[in-house]
Amino acid sequence: PHLRTFHDDFQTCKVEGAWPLVDNGRLFVQVTNIPVVPLSSATASNKLTIIFKSFGECTEQKMYQAESGSLPPAFVDGSKNGGPRDSTGSLRVLELVPGHHIEIRARHIGTTVVVRQVGRYLTFAVRVPSVLAEAGSSEAGGLQLCLSGCPALERIHKEEYHALLARPPARAPAPATARARCKERLPVEDLYFHSCVFDLLTTGDLNFTQAAYAAFEDVRALYPDKRHLNVYRSTTDPTLRG
């Protein structure tokens, strides 16, 4: 999937299987990715596990789990809040569009999580205080994709995108058509737009257009600095220059 890290690195990753996105003393998020089409290393997310750890008098430990085809409106134990201790509503699951869009607000740690199901796959977004985003980074030594990005060997580089543009697979629309479809929802040719084109060319699945748009909507809603919503990467390739 496409990853925008806490440090605004934008990467396209392989990361097949289960990988930690966030792992600190308050919050743990793990994503599971599966291949989307044969003969491509591209994967998409089909499972997310989110654990809000126990926090004093505010909340019990709560786990939320979403899978492809199941975006529940509650934690795994059926509750929608932080449990009996949570008298002030510190932790809440909000169902915004049943089966498609949930938001979890964790007021005690200043954190908002958004999970969506678009087509067969899941999207994830989180906004956390920076001090929490950076916590647990060095001491634990564990990998967190949101913090350090995907390992170099797990990234799909722009050369693969160029190859797709030059020789799209049979299942894919023509590059010009893919660009036009993506431009309908993402008029600015930033990395969200190029991710959309990449996904369309890789799979031919129009749902990925919607996923890229939804991801950008989440950025608009949650990103702390409205001046830097779009992400660009300089390029000398005239086909990508925008």
Binding site: H2, I109, V128, E134, A135, F198, L222, H228
Partner: protein, 126 residues
């Protein structure tokens, strides 16, 4: 580049410093932290603003470059310091920006005191 990490730790040690020696120790730690980021942050405006700010503050407080530095809190201590602190105005279980004043995204100058720096991460598509 993780200059925000240095900023957050400095903000805490600076707030906790009770004496001129404590302020200088906090500044030396901050300086050491930012120097460790020099390679990663060489194109980052927030990093250069921090380096310049450190020099100014050290001059203002007559701090020598050599001397003791403030201990760096562990991540758990950092979290404890900032998360769930009792905040009479918002209730015990609200995240409190207390102690984070002055920490802004991208080194921008925040318009109001008490503004918290947030980070964003997103994952989508294939």
């Amino acid at each position: 580049c993780r200059i925000l990490k240095c900023n957050s730790v400095f903000d805490m040690t600076w707030s906790a410093a009770q004496t001129p020696a404590g302020l200088c120790a906090a500044l030396r730690s901050y300086s050491r932290c930012t120097k460790a980021m020099a390679k990663m942050c060489r194109g980052d405006l927030a990093y250069h603003a921090a380096r310049r700010g450190i020099d100014d503050l050290m001059a203002q407080h007559n701090c020598s470059k050599d001397g003791p530095s403030a201990p760096s809190p562990t991540s758990d201590e950092r979290i404890e310091e900032h998360m769930g602190r009792e905040d009479p105005a918002r209730g015990r279980c609200s995240f409190s920006p207390a102690g984070l004043e002055g920490v802004y995204n991208d080194g921008e100058v925040g318009p109001e005191k008490g503004r918290v720096a947030f980070s964003y991460c997103g994952l989508f598509g294939d």
